[in-house]
């Protein structure tokens, strides 16, 4: 009887000890070192681990625990962690998410930290990218790696169509597309792949056309305004004139599609440099190139989006000084270069771009040019939802189930509905 008793007590106590042990393990371990928790997404989360030993060697008192989070669940996970008060000390944050988390008052204002830092120098970043992290007048994130979208094209096919250099204006862009289509003979071939499940080209064209996307300080959508609608019409002409395939299922693999010459141009981001190098057949490796976005007028390159991820420090963190050291470490030009070598993510520091590793890669040159002409998307938390609506109506307009005017009017109506809460809050703030 007694042994049974002891058994019960033991089974009950083991989990208690276990929990206590694990709880004690968080924050500081037995050696008295401080543990900084850092969340990183997808590919970055997998590879940033390799930079950690160098940091821990330099700072024996600090341990870094990296937690990898899949991109598809990142936003949910971060918001849930915020609601449950279980955010890490620092995190990689897509820079379009910075406004949202600033609004939640989750992020530490980094002004003081950057002022005192010997490593993070705001002048050594692409200004358009740095700008995405500035909310009000303060900075809330330090750019980690940068991302923008530009034109990937088949240089051999464009040369056949009479273009030895990539198009620089919308007019040339349209002209080369028509010539590319004519070249195909009777075969089903297109000039561009412009999938409607990617909102970026539509927003980029709108920004290039001078649209602010939203009006009245982000109170209403401005998509049926003349600037956006003329840009939108320009892109729709690619579908109407059979320069781009309608519907996304026609192309199962962009790499295969472009290698076969099913289309010759595609707007995408830096990660595809690696993919194209890997997936294009060997004999075509000299036949593809990257180029900055064409613009509506002669200013070249045309505007594109300031993308990428930032490093943020969470306000509730109890280890801000140690965490900041880790952010500084990841921001050092050498670490940025090391990270580029491992992942192919383009460094945010201008200093790092001077290195030969980057200068030697002919595909990244266009990105450097483009990154000097990038602008952020509207800094409101509803932006992600708005992009989903843009895709929805771009698809409807491309399939001609709606006219361009109908689609944009409906888009504005939906966006105004999404922004209703924001308007109410702004009005209330004005009253108070």
């Amino acid at each position: 009887m007694r042994s049974l008793h002891a058994e019960i007590v033991r089974t009950l106590l083991v989990p208690v000890f276990f929990i206590a042990f694990v709880a004690a393990g968080c924050g500081s371990d037995r050696s008295g070192a401080v543990t900084v928790t850092f969340w990183a997404m997808g590919n970055e989360g997998e590879h940033v681990q390799r930079l950690v030993p160098g940091f821990e060697e330099r700072h024996p008192g600090i341990k870094v625990k990296v937690q990898q989070i899949p991109w598809t669940a990142a936003h949910e996970k971060l918001l849930t962690a915020f609601a449950g008060n279980s955010l890490p000390d620092a995190c990689q944050l897509g820079n379009t998410w910075v406004p949202e988390f600033t609004l939640l008052d989750a992020l530490e204002n980094l002004d003081r930290w950057t002022d005192e830092s010997a490593v993070v120098d705001p002048d050594d970043y692409f200004s358009g990218i740095w700008e995405t992290n500035v909310i009000g007048r303060s900075v809330y994130g330090i750019p980690w790696y940068v991302d923008t979208r530009l034109l990937y094209y088949r240089s051999d096919l464009l040369a056949e169509a009479g273009y030895t250099a990539p198009p620089r204006t919308w007019e040339e862009w349209h002209d080369v597309s028509v010539k590319l289509r004519e070249r195909s003979g009777g075969e089903e071939r297109y000039a561009m792949f412009l999938p409607t499940n990617e909102w970026v080209p539509f927003v980029v064209a709108g920004l290039q056309g001078g649209s602010t996307l939203l009006r009245d300080e982000g109170r209403y959508g401005d998509f049926s305004g003349s600037e956006f609608s003329s840009s939108f019409k320009f892109l729709m002409s690619f579908y109407r004139e059979k320069l781009a395939p309608v519907g996304i299922t026609r192309v199962t693999s962009i790499y295969q599609g472009m290698a076969e010459g099913y289309f010759a141009m595609y707007i995408t981001g830096p990660w595809n440099i690696g993919e194209f190098s890997r997936r294009f057949p060997k004999e075509l490796q000299d036949s593809w190139m990257t180029a900055p976005m064409p613009g509506p007028d002669t200013t070249y390159p045309g505007i594109s989006l300031a993308g990428g991820s930032s490093l943020v420090l969470f306000q509730h963190s109890e280890r801000k000084a140690e965490t900041w050291k880790f952010i500084e470490y990841l921001s050092e030009p050498q670490q940025q270069l090391a990270f580029y070598t491992i992942t192919g993510n383009l460094p945010a520091r201008l200093e790092a771009w001077k290195d030969t590793v980057l200068a030697k890669n002919r595909y990244v040159r266009a990105f450097y040019e483009q990154l000097n002409r990038v602008v952020p998307t509207p800094k409101i938390p509803e932006w992600e939802q708005i992009t989903m609506k843009i895709q929805q109506y771009a698809e409807a307009a491309s399939r001609e189930t709606m006219s361009v005017e109908e689609a944009l009017a409906a888009l504005d109506r939906d966006v105004d509905r999404i922004l209703e809460k924001r308007r109410w809050m702004m009005e209330r703030a004005d009253r108070d």
Partner: protein, 293 residues
């Protein structure tokens, strides 16, 4: 006596009250507010909006798309799952079957596997170029199908996985139902000269009606809550062709943090499942009477 009974019930009722009724009630109240990301930072940013969430929901084409997909899944996947589990139960329970002890656990195995792990394997089976399924179809001269990438085939692919994953559970219930049919009924039928098919139609099926209805209701309720399969396999794509009601609720609630709106979706789903269960229960009463006459 009464007081003692209540005292003994409290330990059971308290958790149900705390962890079931209060959250459900809170969610119901939430569905009449516009609780969203702004409110998450500051409670004063939430407003009571009456039935606006519900009205907006009925205007949302995405909601109707999700509704259509869910009904597709329930109406095709449900009967298919019941039919497969019934056939498997008959096979396993047949007197001619050897190694019953082997087949029962084998067919039940998919039920106890983790969906996420299984989904990874099934993604390989469904792979348009290297998948086993397309390899098999190629022998029949059928061109490769992009199972998870084609809006037409994505839902059938999800249904197939879910039937495979779930039929074992219903099969066990059916086997129990089959074994409770008295042997004398079959003996009597045989004396009357009934063949195997007539025995199945005249004895097995009518005797299985209560079991089948139970299985039907449980399967329907489960199928209305379709979530994990599309969440893991397709994320609701391609072009929202596998977006289910619960997945929409999850996206609204946890991706966009529109908790008020999301709660409204939950209660619409609740109403639908309740209606479905009542209809089936009504059906049970009617058929129960008819089988007796």
């Amino acid at each position: 006596m009464r007081r003692a009974a209540i005292l003994f019930l409290i330990p059971a009722l308290l958790p149900i009250f705390l962890f079931f009724f209060i959250p459900a009630l809170a969610a119901f109240v939430l569905s009449f507010t516009d609780f969203d990301i702004y409110s998450l930072g500051d409670f004063r940013n939430a407003r009571f909006v009456g039935v606006k969430n519900y009205l907006q929901l009925f205007e949302d084409p995405l909601f109707w798309k999700a509704m259509g997909n869910t009904f597709y899944f329930v109406l095709v996947g449900g009967p298919l799952s019941v039919a497969v589990s019934l056939s498997m139960a008959l096979l396993v329970n047949s007197k001619l079957t050897r190694f019953k002890g082997l087949f029962r656990p084998v067919y039940f195995a998919p039920v106890v596997t983790t969906l996420v792990a299984v989904a990874v394997v099934w993604r390989y089976l469904y792979h348009p170029r290297f998948g086993l399924l397309n390899y098999g179809l190629s022998f029949l001269g059928i061109d490769p199908v992009d199972w998870l990438g084609d809006p037409v085939w994505a839902m059938p692919a999800i249904i197939l996985l879910s039937v495979w994953k779930g039929f074992g559970y219903n099969m066990i219930i059916f086997i129990a139902g089959l074994q409770s049919i008295p042997e004398e009924l079959y003996e009597a039928a045989r004396i009357d000269g009934a063949n195997a098919w007539q025995q199945f139609k005249g004895v097995t099926l009518p005797m299985l009606v209560p079991t089948a209805l139970f299985v039907g209701i449980i399967t329907m309720i489960n199928n209305f809550q379709l979530f994990a399969e599309p969440y893991v396999m397709t994320q609701g794509g391609p072009v929202n062709s596998t977006l289910s009601i619960v997945l929409l609720m999850y996206q609204q609630g946890f991706r966009w943090w529109n908790l008020g709106y999301s709660a409204a979706i939950a209660f619409v789903l609740f109403a639908i499942i309740l209606a479905g269960s009542l209809i089936q229960a009504g059906l049970q009463k009617r058929t129960g009477l008819s089988s007796r006459t």
